[in-house]
Amino acid sequence: MNILVCLKQILDPEIPVRDFRVDPIKREAERGAAALVTNIFCENALETALQFRERTNDARITVLSYGAPTAEDALRKALAMKADAAALVVNDGHAHPDSLTTARVLAAATRKLGPFDLIMCGREAGDWGAGQTGALLAEELGLPCVAFVDRLEQTDGKLRLKRQTDTGWEVLEAAPPVVVTITNDEHNVPRIPKVRDVIMSYRQPLTQWTLDDLEINADEARAGNTYYEVVDLFIPQRETRCEFVAGDTLDEKVAAFAQRISEITSAL
């Protein structure tokens, strides 16, 4: 099974609120002291692929990213986690391209790297959270797509996909090739690569392309805004002020707390 995992490098989403600033002109978050990390759902996807390879002994995993030159680090980490090959399409255009642009770039790179039986993306990214890249990539490639998958198995040349829904879970059978978007569960927490493997990963080959190397409208890709455009970005003001319930003893405080809760629930 030939597997492609798409990875996005993002600003560390765990940055505390007090350190978070936006640049309203560039309409992006300020980098500040924040680290760049691999989007968690992309790492969940890679982990799911690695476990699949361990179970089946029959998979080759390629990782692909479209991003700034720094995205090489995300791919090196993936190699350290034991992906088999890596490719980076360097983005020298719009720093935050819309989802369709990203999907088209990834699709063009996928055609060059493939064919693949299984293409995996994170369900959304921790920065813009658009949640569209996987689905649009499937459309660009003319493939079916299953969202919110957290586990995969192989049976009789077909894939069995378990995915989360609003109310529980579902199992799907899919005939490869197929695109899946991966969500997190307790089984696909990404492994931590060994320091030695991280160092070694920088000696491994890594394919680098520019947009001009792909069969794609490179100008449109650089513009990155023909699908949608962020026209405003701001930090919303919060008006809530917490009232800490009053009372001399815990008993009195809890009584006041219960009263407030009861006022809301009895009105429902």
Binding site: P13, F20, V22, R27, A29, I40, F41, D98, S99, W128, G129, G131, Q132, A135, L136, E139, P144, C145, V146, F148, D150, Q164, D166, T167, G168, E170, V171, L172, E173, A174, A175, T183, N184, D185, V189, N225, T226, Y227, Y228, V230, V231, L233, F234, R238, C242, E243, F244, V245, L250, D251, V254, F257, A258, Q259, R260, I261, S262, I264, T265, L268
Partner: protein, 323 residues
Amino acid sequence: MNDVVICLFAAAGFDRAAQGLAGAGRRLAAELGVRLRAIVIGSDADALATEIARIADAVTIADQTELAEYQPETCLRALAHLSVELQPRAVLLTNDTYSQELAPRLAHRLGGSAVGDGVEVRVAGDALRVSRQVYGGKAQALIELKRTPAVVWLRARSFAPAQARAEVCEVTRATLEIEADTRTRIVKRKREAQGATRLEEARVIVAGGRGLGGPEPFATELQPLAELLGAQLAASRAACDAGWVPPTWQVGQTGKKVAPDLYLAIAITGASQHMAGISEAKTIAAINTDPDAPIFKHCRFGIVADYRKVVPLLRAKLAELQR
């Protein structure tokens, strides 16, 4: 032509999400001065179609055996087929699993643009603009859709419902001949046993976090409290990642987005990724030992104390009040 179309799955019924979607669609259609059309897909669609027919100007039931149960590829074909015929200005959906799965692909097939998780849809000249949270709820973005139709999935529960009319509009059964796409197939559907109400529909939610210290308090402390309040149980990412409760309980940017009247957060710090899931809650209250916990910045009221002491007392007080 140029109408606003809302897409609903019959299986979910006329729930709060469907009501919010219909409300959002009604208001957008009024602002654009166009008609509101609804597509209802799935078996047993009549009840939902009748409700929607009191709000929309036209309702189409996608009627075909192959569409009785949701299958991603076949359902997408049907929605694309029906939407192409209607040539809509905008297609609105809720943010349930299936709508999120299909919306970007539907936009692609219609040559339009999609955006998701919208909390507001505005008309700006010829374009539609959608407000949504980004950066894990730390910022808000206004996104302009560059192609038509605009396909938008909404945090539908946070939109006000529309006033229903006494009279119903025309309900049409579209007889489709969509070829089933069998490249993927749902072979098993499993509901988590968590009462009848979905978390997204719950009006009261009791949620536990890392500070609970383990899985047991969910059963021994939070469950009885939730029963007393008629609430659904939920959890933070930390509690789910630790395997204390199923991942379907997770609320936050990486979990469910909920909109209850009351969200009671117990031993939850309130990381921004968690808050991103409850920004539509009407009232947030918290129990936490740390007065500086970020959760309190979002709370209407709170109590700084150990939940182990508070929750048993709280149950007793609530039981008293209910008598």
